[in-house]
């Protein structure tokens, strides 16, 4: 239990032990430690992404059920808790179908291109003091940069399927993500100005006394809206609108390739929530002024899943908006407000 509170000490101990082992067997530490660290980090992240996706999918279906006054999945396991596990097995066992006129290589690579940036984003997520794969100096910019690669995979999927609906989904997605990425980056700048650093741990450290959601409420709202759009979730799920585009860019995908898109979507949702919790809700810090009753990692997960719940709540509350409304809202409302936020933050910082 004590170890959970003092994760910095835990990480130091592990590093110490690894270095000692290398010395014992006369191995070059840089190579061995790096290889082991990469393997362990990848295994942990991969495992977390799968388990998280299964849990969140089940939670989403259950919450949706209760919001619509029905029960949600109930058949597989007690209260249906094994439903997503059964779904995952079904997806993995399905036949792999490639359309005849599809561009085979691009069609094959698209899920990979969508999935890898989602995994790469986990590198800078701050779970607990010291428990972060790599606390980059440029953490926030890295997240934005990595997040912007995924859309190429979506366009690749839309184009290579050789299906007009898929292509329309890909085009919609690229327009949407380019527009909302701008608003999201600009919303974050307000926080970065206050924190004076791009490093995740520094931004959390700056929020020990007061979370940025209090100092930057406008930025928080802008960020949440833009993040919903970036994750292609309702009310901004136009790229995959099932009633207009029959699932859009992933119409032609089935089996394990579809599972990859699905996993990436939930992995991205977790990343967006974790970033939101880090930038605006104080990350692993407890509530300011109160004693730290829970370990930092529990605080981090608590806040992150709170935002995940918020995303699920949005999805089952708001109707999908039209394409022209989407672009108009992004460029004419979110963007000017983000600029206003930067200007106001700068003014207040100069005056105080």
């Amino acid at each position: 239990m004590q170890l959970l509170f003092d994760t910095q000490q835990l990480v130091n101990n592990i590093q110490h032990w690894l270095a000692g082992t290398c010395e014992l067997y006369h191995l070059p530490p840089c190579l061995v430690v790096t290889c082991i660290a990469i393997a362990v980090a990848l295994a942990l992240i991969g495992g977390f992404i799968s388990v998280n996706a299964m849990m969140v999918v089940l939670a989403e279906r259950k919450i949706a059920g209760y919001m619509q006054d029905r029960l949600g999945p109930m058949r597989v396991g007690p209260y249906g808790i094994l439903q997503t596990a059964a779904d995952a097995v079904k997806l993995l066992l399905k036949e792999n179908i490639v359309p005849k006129i599809a561009d085979k290589w691009v069609f094959f690579l698209a899920p990979v291109v969508v999935m890898s940036p989602a995994v790469m984003a986990y590198v800078v997520l701050p779970w607990s003091p010291g428990l972060i794969v790599c606390d980059l100096n440029l953490g926030v910019v890295y997240l934005m940069a990595v997040g912007s690669i995924g859309v190429i995979g979506i366009i690749m999927a839309g184009w290579s399927s050789g299906n007009k609906y898929s292509l329309l989904g890909g085009i919609r997605s690229s327009a949407q993500i380019v527009s909302y990425e701008l608003a999201m980056s600009l919303a974050v700048i307000g926080v970065l100005m206050l924190a004076g650093s791009l490093k995740m741990s520094d931004i959390i450290g700056a929020q020990q006394d007061c979370w940025y959601i209090i100092k930057q409420p406008l930025a928080f709202i802008l960020f949440i809206i833009a993040a919903t759009a970036e994750c292609n979730r309702a009310p901004f799920d136009l790229p995959e609108a099932e009633s207009e585009l029959i699932a859009g860019f992933h119409t032609e995908y089935g089996g394990i390739k579809f599972a990859m898109f699905f996993l990436a979507e939930y992995a991205n949702m977790f990343v967006a929530s974790a970033v939101c919790a880090t930038l605006f809700l104080g990350g692993w810090n407890g509530i300011p002024g109160l004693p730290m009753i829970l370990p930092p990692i529990v605080w981090f997960l608590l806040k992150t899943y709170l935002i995940v719940f918020l995303f699920i709540w949005f999805r089952w509350t708001y109707p999908r908006i039209r394409v022209d409304q989407l672009m108009g809202f992004g460029w004419k409302v979110l963007l000017p407000l983000a600029f206003l936020n930067i200007g106001l933050t700068g003014l207040v910082m100069v005056l105080i």
Binding site: P28, P29, L138, A145, I149, I152, W159, S174, V178
Partner: protein, 173 residues
Amino acid sequence: MNIDAICSLVLSNMAFFVLAAIGIVCGVLVVTVRNLVHAVLFLAVFLLSVAGLFITLEAEFLAIIQVFIFVGAIVVLFMFLIMLTYKVSDMAVPQGNRLKGAAIVVAGVLFCLIFYIMKAMKWNEAAPVVTITDDVARIGRLLLGQYVLPFELVSFVLLAALIGAIVIARKGE
């Protein structure tokens, strides 16, 4: 030199050659493949390999901005435009090489310029070792301090290009 330093030296050299090879192959493919969408995808890989080269030079900021702007925005914009201009149902999207002559001239002039700069560099002297802890703040201070005039000039040019594009696009209306 201990074994650790040798290890990391070998690894970074290997990384350089692998990334450079990927970059050159993809760069050639960008201008030779027939399918325009494939060309843009190879361009994305080429830009990523350049970002990787920046990382081997310990210029992380440049690498991340490279990915952010070029891969995340420019390549996406290219793909978007290709899908708007061509018949969307046509999977072939061929690229024409009619401007080959002009392209060769421009590339040749650029190569001569870069070659001239590289010749003027003093490669044999070891560069002074500077340890920079916070390069973002440094770049910021340089951009808005010493180089504020070129910086403002570039943004002015970009703004002019933006307005020009809008004027050309709306000519028909």
